[in-house]
């Protein structure tokens, strides 16, 4: 895409008004023609999931397990339709096998959004432990991943990372940190 075109499409996304983190994610998905979004839900992801369901551009639905969602978007990509998977940290922890046996060796641009639990105020010890497995698993497969903490960096990181995943045919994990989303706290 030419720079001028990219600028105008970015402005169009800005024109939609919603500058919340989830509004930016939704517009970035749409701008990159990602229309299939299976998920295993998470409290923090709720506004994004709700707005995806409300937008007829998207086919979005819950799956029973995260690896099932990875299988679905992998099949869809081979069939010519782009997808992304939404999950929580604990869900990512179930994915090592499917990453190593499907997404990476078949060179599938698997786009993952992970709502990060287990840090910055976690109240569940199990969540804090499982969170520590996430980056070592990503690094062990040399997978691209970014932890997004700032609203002003979200669109750049998400948009560029999606384009890189597609053009290099490689998975990417975009980790939505509590500094970006507010996270989940004990009193919620």
């Amino acid at each position: 895409m030419a720079i001028a075109e990219q600028q105008s499409s970015l402005q169009a996304a800005h024109g939609s008004g919603d500058r919340s983190w989830h509004g930016i994610v939704l517009q970035t998905l749409k701008r990159n023609e990602i229309s299939l979004v299976p998920y295993v839900p998470d409290r923090v992801l709720t506004p994004l999931i709700k707005n995806l369901h409300a937008d007829p551009f998207f086919t979005t639905f819950a799956t029973a397990r995260e690896e099932e969602a990875v299988g679905i978007v992998s099949g869809a990509w081979m069939g010519g339709r782009r997808g992304a998977v939404l999950m929580q940290t604990s869900g990512f922890a179930t994915l090592a096998n499917v990453l190593a046996s499907l997404a990476v060796p078949y060179q599938i641009p698997l786009i993952m959004f992970v709502s990060e639990r287990g840090t910055l105020g976690e109240f569940n010890y199990g969540q804090s432990l499982v969170c520590r497995t996430m980056r070592p698993v990503l690094d062990s497969l040399a997978l691209e991943h970014h932890t997004i903490t700032r609203l002003d960096e979200l669109e750049f990181i998400a948009d560029r990372s999606i384009k890189q995943a597609v053009t290099t045919q490689a998975p990417v994990a975009l980790i939505l940190n509590p500094l970006l989303t507010g996270g989940k706290t004990f009193d919620k």
Binding site: L36, P38, T59, F61, A62, T63, A64, R65, E67, E68, A69, V70, G71, I72, V73, S74, G75, A76, W77, M78, G79, G80, R81, G83, N97, V98, A100, S101, L102, P105, Y106, Q107, I108
Partner: protein, 202 residues
């Protein structure tokens, strides 16, 4: 293979034979996803087609991958071949498919009640569960056991002319797969995409 519930009158068939019968019926570029191990070995042995996808891992994901293909290409029929042991790994996928109601997805379960490839150990479901009952209970009302080879072919034809997802369960013997898929994941994926018309070769 369930012998305790309602499969007593169902013929024990052979995976390669049944797969060959299925492939012989494909005349419209139907996609076929072969699950890990013997299901894709026999799909390979039945004659490579560019619309075939062969899994080399990710046990249990044949139906989810096929669902993704079906959602991407709603005008193309998509078959998935899965073993009973593999399906047990991902039973939730049956409900996902039932809720989405893809009109073009046909699931085939090759049920021998064993993990043939690892040494023929019985699955936990082997003597107690009924795959078709599980599928119906998961919301896939159009699910049936094939009574014999002719019934399997009839069920395939019916599935190809209906507008709801179908599941066909086949009791099979304990024979290993006939062929051995070339384990080249990038080439498998790339040729599959060519076969689906998504890409052109370089």
């Amino acid at each position: 293979m369930n012998t305790a519930i309602n499969t007593r009158n169902i013929k024990v068939m052979n995976r390669f034979d049944v797969t060959s019968r299925l492939v012989a019926k494909l005349e419209n570029g139907e996609a076929v996803i072969g699950g890990i191990g013997n299901t894709n070995f026999d799909l390979w042995a039945a004659g490579h087609r560019p619309q075939n996808f062969y899994m080399l891992g990710s046990m249990g994901l044949a139906f989810p991958i096929a669902l993704g293909v079906a959602l991407a290409q709603p005008d193309r029929r998509v078959f998935a071949l899965e073993g009973d042991g593999s399906l047990l790994m991902q039973l939730g996928a049956l409900s996902t498919i039932a809720s989405l109601k893809p009109t073009n997805l046909i699931m085939v379960v090759m049920d021998n009640g064993i993990y043939q490839i690892t040494g023929a150990q019985p699955t936990p479901a082997a003597s107690v569960a009924d795959i078709v009952a599980i599928a119906i209970g998961s919301g896939l009302s159009n699910s049936a056991w094939a009574a014999d080879e002719e019934d399997f072919e009839r069920l395939v034809e019916a599935a190809m002319s209906t507008a709801e997802p179908s599941l066909i369960a086949v009791r099979i013997d304990d024979k290993p797969g006939v062929g051995a898929t070339r384990r080249d994941p990038v080439q498998i994926r790339e040729r599959f995409m060519h076969g689906l018309g998504v890409r052109e070769p370089l």
